[in-house]
Symmetry: C2
């Protein structure tokens, strides 16, 4: 990898972490470049503007989501078990969720009210999960509409748990509630 590509990747990784931990709006170019030990003037050599960084992050995350889903599908062909693997993700990430909330939910929420351009960039991450969940519910014999409703319902439950866990800093709640959601599947 060339030096330029290397720095670009460093900026993306640092931004991804900071956008999650502090939020997009509260993360400045200074924060990002300080984290990787370069001067902040550098950032616009690698990215035209802040929005382009977000796009880079979403691309990166979408690829990671695809890989995660592929792993779940390789682990089992049982759709009910796959849905449980989806829920398990929240348990695996419990520490980060308690501290920072859901990485998808908090980012998308930050944009949904009044930043339509950024919202459109971030939304596909959510949609990917929604569509995959609906597909798995269809495999369980549900019609396409009901399957999508069930997908939304599961997304909703998991987002609620992440949100309340984060707001009340209560990881015990996360564990109990996710287990209960898994059982009800």
């Amino acid at each position: 990898m060339k030096q330029g590509e290397k720095t670009k990747k460093l900026i993306l990784d640092a931004s991804n972490e900071l956008f999650y931990q502090k939020g997009y709006g509260s993360t400045s170019f200074g924060d990002i470049m300080q984290k990787i030990g370069l001067s902040k003037g550098n950032i616009t050599y690698h990215f035209k503007n802040k929005e382009e960084i977000l796009k880079g992050i979403v691309d990166k995350r979408l690829k990671e989501i695809s890989i995660t889903i592929k792993l779940w599908e390789e682990q089992t062909s049982d759709s009910k078990k796959r849905l449980r693997l989806f829920c398990q993700m929240i348990i695996d990430e419990q520490e980060n969720i308690e501290k920072y909330g859901c990485p998808l939910g908090t980012l998308t929420s930050e944009f949904s009210k009044h930043k339509p351009k950024l919202y459109k960039i971030a939304l596909p991450m959510f949609q990917t999960f929604r569509e995959w969940l609906a597909k798995e519910y269809q495999s369980l014999g549900l019609g396409i509409n009901i399957a999508d409703e069930k997908a939304m319902s599961l997304l909703s439950k998991v987002q609620g748990v992440a949100m309340v866990t984060h707001v009340f800093k209560d990881r015990d709640f996360l564990l109990k509630e996710i287990e209960s959601i898994k059982k009800e599947l």
Copy 2:
């Protein structure tokens, strides 16, 4: 009411609305004062700083929450019905929730990651509902710990619905899901 008090109330009402619709961070003094047709230089005559406006809003909302709860308690002494009235609130506010999310959830989330001072100001609104829900679950014969868990669980479900409804702009989902939550109570 004196003129000063009148203007102060106007600022609080306008801020309350804008903080909900645009978010706290994205609402400027200019936005607020433009909404009520006064010069923006005026604002610090009535409030020391932006944080004080937030405090005023939270005070106002806490009073409204108390009144709402009192109304629910007057409507029925059946705790299960009271819990359903809590859920019904989301249905009554469906239009706003679709557009702007939950007024409590989105505000608290905005602060929870990296603005601890503002977070502490906003949190009591959530706690009020949590404690009241737990009290009602206790009335249904549950022990104090289980009652609190059930309160968290209901808060979580409702927050999830509000969040997903807002992010996907899907009011139909809200209606179906809240009705389903009510039935399961």
